[in-house]
Point group: C2
Chain length 250, copies 2
DNA sequence: CAAACACAGATTGGATACATTTTCAAGCCC
DNA sequence: GGGCTTGAAAATGTATCCAATCTGTGTTTG
């Protein structure tokens, strides 16, 4: 056992240990890692929600999930609670669970927070980015240009931005940003579907500009570009309220 | 019931309707205290941690809490999980739970996020502050000047800042800010104990300046003052690493 | 004498079963 | 015929019990 647990007099094993789980690498979050089986259900459910298998406003029944994942209702409840903490599920006591649904105002609120928070994370990341990460930036931009399906673009977009954050050794800010991304996943998808050719070109340009600033090592300029990128998306989104009506009606 | 009128014209057939919206909770059940045992334990534990009854790094045993609150271990587990989501507790699978402990770097990270996020929340709040809230600002500043005990000052400080945010109709940003405050509660207390007379005077001046800007209705200037206030505290904190050593050693 | 192994104790994680609360639908009264 | 009350059914919250895992100590061996 590691000496760091030498808690003869001290307390706690290493509460804040962990190699600064950045936000890189797609895959599961495994933030607090509840437990063995519960965490598997949590990951599966999150993937289901993010992938579109469960749509906003849809009801979630514990028994159904318990049977689907071959477990009891207890780990399912733990999973729902964990996802509620991530903002993906809404639990109402003695009533039930629903997939979180954002209104237009709430979605804009998320984007406003992202405008303030992600440039900070980026500025923490840029000075410490690995060479491998830098080498992958422009290819990802090109891949996004060539993406045909919405899902492919979304995955590449996520990978690109998370890669730009992979240099930050943060414990909380990275998780916060990932949560903000997850909660707006449905709307990003719907927005990408409605996006015009003109806005798409603008997005690609912003991505390339961001990559160039990062490659230059100019964290401040990169932060400015990123702020503009998120802001542009937010304003564009505010001009397409039908995104939310569609989801509400479904 | 029926308090929550579906925002989008009565779209929802019963099955897909539900309080998936973050703010919309059932009329009868206020998301705060639905009389569930788990929620009561959660609140009690949070108060215990924030109040200093449980110190950072201290171990939490489920059985002890179960007996203390006269309940089973299950609602205790739920409470720990909820508090983990708030960042107040750290859970290690199959091992145990500890009161969250922040390193100096992590604490500064929280403050940096606060610098970005709280001015935004303030700018959303200032234009819609009630007259009652405005009338209470300067008296609170004066009360802080006269506060003798640290606990009294901390309570007034929290009340003052939360009052400045009371005009914001947010669903997520407000909770985020409250979480950030809670996770640094221990360190704010320790810092207040170590604060010199000179820093105390500066804090009071900043508070008064902030109150005046808010009363003037100048949201932008208020945001600037608030940013400086948080930044000053962060820099001051970085000059007192003994705060963390004391807590680590204890 | 020190380090690795193994066992015992303790603590958490999960499954089953029961009590409580809410919801839905039929029936009754106005 | 419409609105309200009442009843049953379903879903959630909780308690108790059992299994899996980790910590810590004692022993053994080089």
């Amino acid at each position: 056992m590691g000496g760091r647990a030498a808690s003869a007099a001290g307390t706690g094993p290493a509460p804040t240990s962990g190699p600064a789980n950045g936000t890189a690498s797609n895959g599961s979050v495994s933030n607090g890692t509840p437990a063995g089986a519960a965490v598997r259900i949590t990951d599966a459910l999150r993937a289901d929600i993010l992938g579109g298998g469960l749509r906003p406003g849809e009801r979630i029944r514990q028994e159904v999930l318990a049977e689907r994942y071959g477990a009891s209702r207890l780990p399912v409840r733990d999973a729902l609670r964990a996802l509620e903490a991530e903002g993906l599920v809404v639990l109402v006591p003695n009533t039930g669970a629903w997939v979180a649904k954002l209104s237009l105002d709430e979605c804009q609120e998320v984007y406003q927070v992202r405008e303030r928070v992600e440039p900070l994370l980026l500025s923490m990341s840029v000075p410490r980015l690995e060479q491998d990460a830098l080498d992958r930036l422009l290819p990802l931009v090109e891949a996004m240009r060539g993406a045909d399906h919405v899902e492919e673009f979304l995955a590449l977009d996520r990978e690109f931005h998370m890669l730009t954050y992979s240099g930050a050794e943060t414990t909380m800010l990275g998780e916060l940003v990932e949560r903000l991304w997850n909660t707006t996943q449905h709307y990003r998808r719907a927005f990408a579907l409605l996006g015009t050719e003109r806005t798409a070109r603008g997005i690609h340009l912003e991505h390339e500009l961001l990559a160039l600033a990062i490659l230059r090592g100019d964290a401040e300029d990169a932060g400015r570009v990123l702020l503009g990128h998120i802001r542009t998306t937010r304003l564009e989104l505010s001009r397409h309220p039908e995104v939310f009506h569609v989801l509400d009606g479904a």
